[in-house]
């Protein structure tokens, strides 16, 4: 078997003889202290104490420390000026991805697995199956936390190469927040979960859910790694994720819903999850004019498949949203609005137009030579447009004007016309600014 060199390098750095000896000694001392504190208690409380301690230590080591290390796996390389060296090697994106994920955190896994071993040994009255399920949940939750932290840190530096203070905090926090409920999960559990009309053991379903989420996060890491190593991605995998995620959520709908209802529900959930991911991806991805000039160049020169490689995630999401909006409009799905009046599918079309406008706002502020806090400014404008302005007009008794800023208004004609006008204005402004910034780069196209 060919040994992954990046993983090997991490082992050299992370699993030094000193560390290999110190981890069990430190953990042993902590467990010994707990033992000495609790040895005089009832057997039940004694085991409970050990279980809580082992769980807590696993959380600290694998989830918290592991997330920190994985979020730094690449940013530290950039900071230490070694990342270009790694990019120049022939290590494949997949090998680099798993070596970064598991290699940077291997020491925390060493301690974490010792904690799981203590947890298993100290579990009295728990079956082997339950123990295995708990170990699986812990390992997958740890992996989810670490892979999320690595993924978010990669999204943050992708195409920017800016290393800023607290650069790894967001990824680390998200990882911890995602994993925390699973670490607290109590085994054994007799609870069940209904999914697509079938009954599943809760523990088994949690393992499936964790594997589902972790799997997609690792796929995300792999795709970003491909980009870093100068390889192209098509948007197909991203679209597949956007299609599958609502499917997972629809499974929790009541089992007596007929298939037509489930399709409608699927479309509605896809509409909202896709909209959310459009906002998240436009916030996260680079939005400089160069990205679009490259796309324009390829379109102009009949770039074929290469065009797909340069389509931003939010744009492919927007195309999917367009199709979903069309399907919702055609099916004319009945749904009650929060305003207690029927909300017909035209509002979804208005919502689609408003999203185009919002994308325009993000692009407009980002299309400058040195955009300063462009995302923050865009968010402030969106808050004004969605909350302050409609409320002011509403309080003045000008409901039709307020409707022009609310895609979910019952005054649908105004909302749609306003959406069309606003999105057209923003698209024009974006094009105008992009063109103004092009300068001599136009010669390249």
């Amino acid at each position: 078997m060919k040994w992954n060199p990046e993983f090997q390098r991490n082992i050299w750095l992370e699993l030094t003889p000193h560390r290999l000896i110190s981890m069990p000694i430190v953990l042993g001392i902590i467990f010994l202290m707990i033992y000495l504190q609790m040895v005089y208690l009832l057997e039940e409380y004694f085991y409970q104490g050990i279980t809580i301690t082992a769980t807590f230590l696993f959380f600290i080591l694998v989830v918290m420390w592991g997330s920190k290390l994985s979020s730094e796996a690449i940013t530290s390389e950039i900071q230490d000026k070694t990342w270009d060296n790694q990019r120049m090697t022939t290590i494949s994106p997949w090998s680099m991805s798993w070596a970064k994920l598991f290699g940077s955190t291997i020491f925390t896994w060493y301690g974490g697995l010792l904690c799981i071993a203590v947890l298993t040994i100290s579990s009295s009255g728990i079956s082997v199956t339950d123990n295995l399920q708990r170990a699986s949940i812990f390992i997958l939750a740890g992996l989810l936390a670490q892979s999320t932290a690595l993924y978010i840190s990669m999204v943050q530096f992708m195409g920017r190469r800016q290393i800023w203070r607290h650069r790894n905090t967001l990824g680390m926090l998200l990882g911890i927040i995602l994993a925390l409920p699973f670490i607290q999960y109590d085994i054994p559990s007799e609870d069940t979960i209904q999914w697509f009309g079938k009954t599943y053991n809760q523990s088994s379903f949690i393992i499936f859910t964790l594997a589902f989420l972790t799997g997609w996060t690792i796929i995300g890491i792999y795709r970003l790694m491909r980009k870093e190593l100068q390889l192209a991605n098509t948007p197909l995998v991203w679209l597949l994720f956007l299609i599958i995620l609502p499917g997972y959520i629809v499974g929790f709908a009541e089992s007596d819903a007929d298939s037509m209802d489930q399709i409608n529900l699927y479309l509605l959930i896809t509409y909202f999850t896709t909209s959310l991911t459009i906002y998240l991806t436009i916030l996260a991805e680079p939005k400089d004019p160069v990205t679009f000039r490259r796309l324009a160049f390829l379109i102009h020169h009949g770039g074929g498949r290469k065009i797909l490689h340069h389509i931003p995630s939010w744009l492919s999401g927007l195309l999917l949203l367009g199709l979903v909006t069309l399907a919702i409009t055609i099916r004319d799905i009945p749904i009650a609005s929060p305003y207690n009046s029927p909300l017909i599918s035209l509002n979804f079309f208005a919502g689609f137009l408003f999203i185009i406008r919002d994308i325009g706002i993000f692009l407009f502020f980002n299309f400058s030579i040195k955009p300063k806090r462009a995302n923050t400014v865009s968010i402030i404008y969106l808050l004004l447009l969605y909350t302050v302005i409609p409320i002011i007009f509403l309080s003045l008794g000008l409901e039709p004007v307020s409707a022009a800023f609310n895609p979910w208004s019952t005054l649908k004609s105004i909302t749609i016309i306003s959406g069309l006008i606003q999105s057209a204005i923003m698209l024009y402004l974006v094009y105008y600014r992009w063109n103004a910034l092009s300068g001599q780069a136009k010669n390249a196209i």
Binding site: E6, K81, D84, T89, L231, L437, N443, A444
Partner: protein
């Protein structure tokens, strides 16, 4: 070996390379030079498939770099101007890591490590931690890492910056040695004097464009730098020389003047005779070997005067 056509590279708000086309043959040693911010690093990173250009094509060792960047990485060694090392690893581990990262087999690995260490004269440092090496030795280790997979092309960005004179001299010897081993070298540097001995071509980049790409051996054929020393200052000589045809890049120096002039002996004799006949206090008139630095400055000055 390297062929670039109509390359454009854009950073937000700045066109870093504009319509760059060039060819570099196998075995050449090219000095890549130009003012700060001219686009040298961008060009090198584009050639090394670390950056994707806006448009244009790059072929390195027969590989379309834009379509097959990973294949390019197999053929190219690259050292950035600001590089890092794994300071907690030993020199040997650093080299082993790079060897394995370039898919060198387990059987070939020890030989590759020893060969790279020997080339860079760091065999005696194999068990030393990278973090404890001097700046010069770190540079050697970084270059050893870059060439461990025997690349056909080695690109180095400002390799001599931050080195003391002795380390620079050793680095010059090293490049000379690598060039004799048949590696195509592209060295971005401001210190042209050190590249002079073994450079076969010079590429001047300025404001994102190629200003000059010439074989160095062709440099002294037509023109040379003449230096004149005067026994005492005489400003009228400058005025006189300005009226003479064929003189360019006229500069006042510590003990006299220098200028670029024809390397034809007859023309030089005629000029000297004219200076003497005008009774200027001349005590030295000689041809100075045209250095890369002179060519570079002449080119940049010409460019500045035309803009």
């Amino acid at each position: 070996m390297i062929e670039v056509k109509n390359l454009f590279f854009e950073y937000p708000g700045k066109l870093a390379l504009r319509d760059v086309s060039l060819k570099i043959s196998k075995g050449e040693v090219t000095a890549l030079t130009g003012p700060n911010g001219a686009g040298k690093t961008t060009l090198l990173r584009g050639l090394a498939a670390l950056h994707q250009p806006l448009s244009g094509s790059i072929r390195v060792a027969g590989i379309d770099v834009i379509s097959n960047p990973r294949l390019c990485h197999e053929k190219v060694g690259y050292l950035a101007d600001f590089f890092g090392l794994y300071e907690d690893l030993t020199v040997k581990q650093c080299l082993m890591y790079m060897a394995r990262s370039h898919s060198i087999t387990a059987d070939g690995e020890p030989a590759a490590v020893n060969r790279a260490a020997a080339r860079l004269h760091i065999e005696d440092r194999l068990h030393q931690r990278a973090g404890t090496l001097s700046r010069g030795l770190s540079q050697r280790l970084a270059i050893a890492q870059a060439i461990i997979h025997e690349p056909a092309i080695l690109m180095l960005d400002e390799p001599a910056s931050g080195l003391d004179p002795e380390a620079r001299s050793q680095l010059s010897d090293l490049f000379h040695e690598l060039s004799t081993q048949g590696i195509t070298l592209i060295i971005s540097s401001h210190i042209l004097a050190e590249l002079e001995e073994y450079c076969t071509s010079m590429l001047i980049v300025d404001n994102g464009e190629i200003r000059e790409h010439r074989h160095v051996s062709a440099t002294p054929a037509k023109q040379c730098t003449i230096e004149i020393t005067l026994s005492h200052e005489d400003d009228s000589l400058i005025k006189f020389l300005k009226t003479r045809p064929g003189i360019s890049s006229l500069k006042t120096e510590e003990a006299g003047l220098s200028f670029v002039f024809s390397s034809e002996k007859a023309q030089q004799a005629e000029l000297l005779q004219a200076i003497i006949s005008h009774q200027f206090p001349i005590c030295h008139f000689a041809e100075r070997k045209t250095s890369l630095q002179d060519v570079y400055l002449a080119k940049v000055n010409t460019q500045e005067s035309t803009t």
